[in-house]
């Protein structure tokens, strides 16, 4: 039935309409919540609208390029990304206690954002060029590919992003069909690695976050404050919420970071469980659409990269909502397409552009 769409205007524009509608739906919700969470700050709204527009533009642009282009450029961009990550560690700009930014004179950007796209494409192009399911050797090479930027980003330190980057690579590997036995061994290995991570690799503030996550009430005014206030905001929203712009937790400043990482708490407080259900359904719709696009992919690269990008998007959703509602420790992951913020939104939309490219360049591939 997808074939019927090949002659539509959207197909020619390389735009997947269902995905676009889902994205626009989320963006609308984003603007509605942001108006409330940002305290009716019109400047903030305009900046966000500009960003959304820029993001959509990027998405459409990315959709025009063919999957072959991405497969070809995956490796060079990945290597460039690794090089930039190394240079960030060496000469990077320190902001908020972490080295994440690189200053190009006219422009500051985070190389880790490049990795969010380069990683799934790199793994997909490497594994996809081999026969699937991947052999043990190729799996190990892929693991090395995944681990290098992950560790570099974790070193910045940016636990949230390194997690997302690693996840995108792992998903590509998983979708490629790595044997369940190997997955079991990897999970066991990771569990064994956890104490090493805790004692040798994690920074104090990261450990504190985990401890606070385990028992937020132990430090109600310090690091536990965010989680406690966030849970109060969500819980007090009830089934139908307090109403738009009526959330006392957010409107009276009890909720920290309320227009960025904790925007989900604002949403929950004002729109309640009913609003949450709607939001989650939108996310599920986008994820299902993404996975559908992936399954329709004509090459292994297309399938793996589309699937990995989609599942990474889900990780965003899960980690953000999980942390805001107290299920996961606080890591700096925004709620995708809802949170106020520039770079990660543009990266996400670029990812959706790649998905659209994969879905709308089939005939070219078939030729």
């Amino acid at each position: 039935m997808e074939r019927h769409q090949e002659n539509t205007i959207w197909y020619k524009l390389h735009i997947d309409l269902p995905l676009l509608l889902g994205i626009l739906g989320l963006m609308s919700l984003s603007l509605i919540v942001l108006y409330s969470a940002g305290g009716q700050d019109m400047d903030l709204m305009i900046r966000q609208i500009v960003r959304l527009g820029f993001g959509l533009g990027t998405m459409i642009f990315m959709a025009q390029l063919s999957p072959n282009f991405y497969a070809r450029w995956a490796m060079p961009v990945f290597l460039l990304g690794v090089a930039l990550l190394v240079s960030v560690l060496l000469f990077g700009h320190v902001g908020k206690g972490a080295q994440r930014w690189i200053n190009l004179g006219f422009f500051m950007f985070q190389p880790s954002e490049i990795m969010k796209l380069a990683m799934p494409l790199m793994v997909a192009s490497y594994i996809g060029s081999k026969s699937l399911p991947p052999s043990l050797k190729h799996t190990f090479v892929a693991c090395a590919i995944i681990l290098t930027p992950t560790l570099l980003i974790a070193k910045q330190p940016d636990l949230g992003t390194s997690l997302l980057v690693a996840a995108s690579g792992i998903f590509a590997l998983f979708l490629a069909g790595v044997s369940w036995r190997l997955i079991g061994v990897a999970v066991a290995g990771a569990s064994a690695f956890a104490p090493v991570l805790w004692f040798f690799l994690m920074h104090n503030y990261q450990r504190q976050r985990v401890l606070t996550f385990l028992n937020p009430e132990s430090d109600p005014l310090g690091s536990g404050y965010h989680i406690i206030q966030s849970k109060i905001a969500i819980g007090s929203g009830g089934i139908f919420g307090k109403g738009w712009m009526q959330g006392t937790q957010s409107q009276l400043d009890f909720l920290p970071e309320r227009h960025t990482d904790f925007i989900f708490a604002v949403f929950s407080e004002e729109f309640g469980l009913v609003g949450i259900a709607l939001l989650l359904m939108l996310y599920i719709f986008i994820i299902c659409r993404g996975l559908f696009i992936a399954s329709q992919g004509q090459s292994a690269f297309s399938r793996l990269s589309a699937g990995a990008l989609t599942l990474t998007f889900f990780v965003y959703v899960f980690v953000n909502i999980g942390m805001v509602s107290g299920l996961l420790p606080v890591v700096g992951v925004p709620l995708p397409l809802i949170s106020y913020g520039g770079t990660s939104m543009v990266t996400l939309l670029a990812g959706f552009g790649i998905l659209m490219s994969i879905h709308t360049h089939k005939r070219l591939l078939a030729n």
Partner: protein, 650 residues
């Protein structure tokens, strides 16, 4: 697998494998989203009440709102204690960047001295966080204006309005009304014990003395509260609910301001006391302790310099002489002594004794002098009272003994609290064997008894006790309780406080009362009466008794010479009286310290009080006749001068 298999990729198998993995992924995704959703369901539905409460705890603060203190009026509705708005300059420390600099600047701007600044820093240490501290407690109009002009420069410094107690009649009623003052550490502990901390959460002042203290609970009222929504910095965003405080009750005293003023004027700053009570119900019409001081000083916190002056002043102005002054009652109790003798049968209305000018305990050489050195000659009980013959009463008490005297006098209220409705009262001393044992660990000697007969020795009484004892006498044994509170204003009218009575005094023969009262009548009406001069040509018939209390003991042969004695060694002039003789309405007791003889120095005061009382009554009756208002006091409504939201919300 072999090489060819690797080269020959099975695309459909790979695709199928991929789809399987996608299906697993979708299951995984849906499972995790379900976990999220279940957790959110738990938070928003199962724990909704918990989080709703916590959310409200976060944002809702309950601020107590102080009730307005009840007003105090005199019996005619003249305002005696009111509430006036005052303005204070307050600093919220947390909002100031450089506190010392701000304080210095404000001090210069408003002309504050070092004391004010020191006080501020002292208070600051005690104040809770985010609660403003007063830099100036009472801004003058100029200061308020000066600050208002410059307010924009001082974020975190505000003018706050409060109602403060004000006593418009200054020192006229100080000892009776008492005053309110800032709640201090002791008050806090007491309130905590009484479980009233919450009631006083927003209150700053509390009754410290007099009526203000005694009727504190009634005057204070019940605090209200407002529920406010605050942000995370505690700033009030809006008021959600306001429960207004219930103002304290307005009360009317039996005090007649005109009589009180008269009494104060008569004492004219001399040390002493004048009490006038209603003979029928014990209502206190006037109660003056002199010298006095301005109670308004204490309302705003008296400076230590002023306080030390009052505290260490020779004339002890802080003491309420009317209820705390312990004076030998001297001859003012001779009627009661006569009643005792008649009741015990040691004298009869007709019996006489010979007074040679002194009296000796039989078989001893100790002589007790009569005030009249050459003696009164033959004296009966009437004569003894009229002329205040000491010898007669030496003999009387010698025969009755201390035990019966002590017990009898206690019925008149001596040695006990009168029950007047202020806390500053002393029992003074009605001596007895037990008392002396307890006080001095000494036995009672017969010599101790004799001077008791003329109200000297260990016997002391307060002016209010003397007034009460005289009223009980005038009422022929009915025992009244002096009372300041007349009525309590209720919504529409007022509630009259019923008079209080104690067990009456019953004599063996009712006719004895007339004997004592006739003697008392003679004091002011007969040619031989000691106070006839003071009460010459009155329009009413009064009865009274003078007393001249020795402050220092004199040797047997010493002659009292006021001129030679240091002022504070001179006799206290005392007088008790009631009028009209036939149907007693008012009783007065007068003490003028170190003034000399009671007849010449205290009796004129009593006379003037009666004159003023009856003149006032006559004017009132005439006014009633012509249907004119005598005094037209507009009872000032205890209105809320400050909008409570304004007062509490800052």
């Amino acid at each position: 697998m072999n090489q060819s298999n690797i080269a020959m990729r099975d695309h459909s198998a790979e695709s199928a494998l991929f789809v399987r993995r996608v299906v697993v992924s979708i299951v995984f995704v849906l499972a995790l989203i379900s976990v999220l959703f279940l957790n959110l369901y738990y938070l928003q539905v199962e724990s909704f009440q918990v989080y709703k409460t916590r959310s409200n705890d976060n944002r809702i603060n309950v601020l107590p709102v102080a009730p307005n203190r009840g007003l105090i009026y005199d019996r005619n509705g003249v305002l005696l204690a009111e509430n006036r708005p005052i303005f204070s300059l307050e600093i919220t420390i947390e909002k100031i960047d450089d506190l010392d600099k701000t304080v210095l600047e404000l001090a210069e701007l408003l002309g504050l001295d070092q004391d004010d600044i020191d006080n501020f820093y002292k208070q600051k240490k005690r104040q809770r966080r985010f609660k403003p501290v007063a830099l100036v407690n009472r801004l003058t109009t100029e200061q308020a204006a000066l600050f208002s002009v410059n307010q924009h420069k001082y974020h975190g410094v505000n003018i706050e309005a409060y109602l403060k107690r004000y006593y418009p009649h200054g020192d006229t009623l100080t000892h009776t009304l008492g005053y309110v003052g800032k709640i201090n550490d002791k008050d806090v502990i007491r309130l905590d014990k009484e479980g009233k901390t919450a009631t006083y959460a927003a209150t700053r002042d509390i009754g410290k003395q007099g009526v203000e203290r005694y009727y504190e609970e009634m005057l204070h009222g019940v605090p209200g509260y407002q529920e406010v929504e605050v942000n995370n910095r505690g700033k009030i965003i809006r008021v959600l609910k306001f429960v207004p405080p219930e103002p304290g009750k307005d009360i009317y005293l039996n005090i007649d301001l005109a009589m009180q003023r008269k009494a104060q004027k008569l004492l004219d700053g001399r040390r002493g006391s004048v009490v006038m009570i209603d003979a029928k119900d014990g209502g206190v019409l006037a109660m003056v302790s002199s010298p006095s001081y301005d109670p308004n000083l204490f309302v705003h916190g008296i400076s230590s310099k002023n306080y030390n002056e009052l505290l260490h002043s020779f004339s002890r102005p802080l003491i309420n002489r009317a209820t705390q002054g312990r004076y030998p009652p001297a001859s003012t109790i001779k009627m009661q002594m006569a009643l005792l003798g008649l009741n015990e049968g040691t004298i009869t209305p007709q019996s006489k004794i010979w007074d040679p000018g002194s009296w000796q305990i039989p078989n001893t050489s100790k002589r007790f002098r009569d005030w009249k050195r050459w003696g009164h000659g033959w004296v009966d009980v009437y004569h003894a009272i009229e002329q205040s013959c000491d010898t007669f009463f030496y003999d009387l008490i010698y025969q009755v003994g201390i035990d019966k005297t002590s017990a009898f006098m206690k019925q008149f209220g001596f040695g006990d609290y009168t029950g007047i409705d202020i806390a500053e009262e002393t029992t003074a001393v009605m001596p007895s064997r037990g008392w002396k044992r307890a006080r001095f660990n000494q036995p009672w000697y017969q010599g101790d008894t004799i001077s008791i007969g003329i109200g000297q020795g260990y016997w002391t009484a307060t002016p209010i006790q003397l007034a009460q004892a005289t009223a009980n006498l005038a009422r022929r044994g009915e025992v009244i309780v002096p009372r300041l509170l007349k009525s309590i204003r209720t919504g529409s009218g007022s509630f009259e406080v019923p008079p209080d009575h104690k067990a009456p005094i019953v004599l063996n023969n009712e006719s004895y009362w007339q004997v004592a009262l006739d003697g008392m009548y003679g004091v002011v009406n007969k040619k031989t009466g000691t106070a006839r001069k003071a009460f010459a040509d009155t329009e009413y018939k009064a009865a009274g008794k003078s007393g001249t209390a020795q402050v220092v003991n004199m040797k047997e042969d010493e002659v009292y010479d006021a001129e030679k004695l240091a002022e504070h060694h001179r006799d206290n002039a005392m007088f008790v009286a009631y009028a009209p003789f036939e149907n007693p309405e008012v009783v007065t007791s007068v003490v003028v310290e170190n003034a000399g003889g009671g007849s010449s120095h205290a009796a004129p005061v009593a006379r003037a009080m009666f004159d003023a009382y009856f003149a006032g009554k006559k004017a009132a009756d005439e006014a009633k006749l012509f249907n004119l208002p005598l005094v037209a006091p507009q009872p000032i409504e205890n209105t809320n001068l400050l909008a409570p939201t304004e007062a509490g919300a800052q």
